[in-house]
């Protein structure tokens, strides 16, 4: 209860302070609109905002699914072959350390001219992929050596070793990475929409960009709030999944 109540109280205090500050007239409305104006903008534009949110969420979800499939598959390949790991891992690191905002224009030119959404998904995937690969690789390497020897001693097949030892060992690592990558996929999708500009004119980032161009700060805030809510929902969904699947640890 405290876990929900305390952040809610803090949020209420922030909103109240924000309202009082704006009401004091010390700050122009186009720089900081009142909380009520933000709520009004959200209600007045609820339909378009929801459509935009659905579009961004769709890109995020597709990218995250692709990141999970590719990250897990590559981590498995790494665990089976040191040569594959030595060959491919540096490229994965290069992709991770290169700022996504600098790769995005290239991806848009390469694959986005006839299909912007494909480019958005690829950019979001680039942002979400590495934590899954790195964590899953670490998880597959974290197998208890003694337990592994027992599997050998009792004649386990390769499939039994994977399904009954490697996979459950790596599961906590994968679930932890999902909480991180879920947020990264959303950031990637938003960055991609920003870079795509009017080309990606369906998502929340475009709504924020468009409102910014017209100095409609309350609409910008409304878009930002929706993005935050989406990010929080993604994080807590995976946290709940983690709690459910790893109930044995409690």
């Amino acid at each position: 209860m405290k876990r929900v109540l305390l952040p809610l109280l803090a949020l209420s205090a922030i909103i109240l302070a924000w309202h009082l500050w704006v009401a004091s007239g010390n700050v122009p409305k186009f720089i900081l609109p009142a909380p009520g104006a933000v709520a009004g903008a959200l209600i007045d534009n609820f339909g378009p905002f929801m459509l935009a949110a659905a579009s961004t969420f769709k890109v995020t979800l597709i990218a995250l699914t692709a990141a999970v499939i590719s990250g897990v598959a590559l981590a498995l390949a790494f665990s089976l072959s040191r040569t594959v790991e030595m060959t491919v891992y540096p490229f994965a690191v290069i992709l991770q350390v290169t700022p996504i905002v600098s790769i995005a224009p290239l991806v848009l030119i390469w694959v986005g001219i006839d299909n912007v959404e494909r480019a958005l998904v690829i950019i979001a995937w680039l942002a979400a992929f590495f934590p899954i690969l790195a964590n899953m690789s670490a998880g597959l390497r974290a197998v208890d050596k003694n337990l592994s020897e027992l599997f050998t001693l009792y004649g386990a097949t390769r499939w039994q070793r994977f399904w009954r030892l490697l996979w459950p060992t790596a599961m906590p690592y994968l679930l932890a990475s999902l909480k991180v990558s879920g947020g990264f996929a959303l950031i990637g999708a938003v960055v991609a929409e920003f870079v795509a500009g009017s080309g990606g004119a369906t998502g929340l980032a475009w709504r924020i960009l468009e409102a910014g161009n017209r100095l409609q700060t309350e609409k910008m805030f409304a878009g930002l709030i929706l993005l935050s809510v989406m990010g929080v929902c993604i994080f807590y969904s995976f946290a709940a999944l983690e709690r459910w699947l790893l109930a044995y640890r409690r």
């Binding site: 020897e149 027992l150 001693l153 640890r249």
Partner: protein
């Protein structure tokens, strides 16, 4: 039941042999302890016998038929995501589909190690001693002829260690398996073993037969002249190594 002849072994990352010409026999129903300082090759001997490592030279001879052996490690090596019963059933479930009778067998085995009613718990909820009992139950469910124990009680306190020693002897009397038991404790080796091998630099330096009267209660065995004599002889052999 098992005969090891002139075993030699060197780890790939080292140029110093760990095992240098070890030979011994193990009789059915016998508990033999391997005692010696860290790095002398005790655990390597267990892994060679288990077939987890292959000797450079020498051979290990088993009686004809399928060799049935189980391993108990210093840490219980349980699957944290599996219940106590699922952990105990591991050796059977890797070979066949587990049936009702196997589950009953697991419950019996848990009762034998004093963990009745713990079947649905996860390892996370167990104490160190309880986890080790699960590990022993798992090792025994496949009815091994030979039990390989690599310092299984090293992390337990003295009282718990005594209880585990009693439990092990009781189970051995009931089930009749043999055991190779690695330990750092002179007292544990003297109490549990039919024979104690003193290992030095990859060779068997000496052998002591405690010959305790197993019909006596444990406290009397531990206070008997035979026990003191065995402890004294083992200590002397260990001192002689220095």
């Amino acid at each position: 039941m098992l005969s090891a002849t002139d075993l030699h072994f060197t780890y790939a990352e080292s140029d110093r042999p760990v095992i240098r010409g070890i030979s011994f026999d193990l009789k059915a129903g016998e508990i033999v302890s391997l005692l010696g300082p860290s790095g002398c090759g005790k655990s390597t001997i267990l892994r060679l016998v288990a077939g987890l490592l292959s000797p450079e030279s020498g051979m290990i001879t088993w009686p004809a038929g399928e060799k049935r052996l189980s391993f108990v490690f210093q840490d219980a090596a349980l699957m944290p995501w599996a219940t106590v019963t699922e952990n105990v059933l591991l050796p059977l479930s890797l070979k066949n589909t587990v049936g009702e009778s196997d589950v009953e067998k697991a419950h019996d085995m848990l009762a034998a190690v004093g963990l009745e009613g713990f079947d649905k718990r996860y390892p996370h909820k167990l104490s160190g001693g309880q986890r080790m009992r699960v590990s022993i139950a798992r090792a025994l469910i496949a009815h091994p002829e030979l039990l390989l124990l690599d310092e299984p009680f090293a992390a337990l306190d003295e009282i718990l260690r005594f209880q585990m020693n009693e439990m092990l002897l009781k189970l051995r009397r009931k089930q009749g398996w043999s055991a190779l038991f690695v330990t750092h404790s002179v007292y544990e080796a003297a109490y549990l073993s039919d024979r104690v091998f003193i290992i030095k630099n990859g060779t068997i330096e000496g052998e002591v037969k405690p010959s305790l009267n197993r019909d006596l209660p444990s406290f009397e065995q531990r206070g008997s002249p035979e026990f003191s004599k065995a402890v004294s002889r083992i200590s002397k052999l260990l001192e002689a190594r220095r």
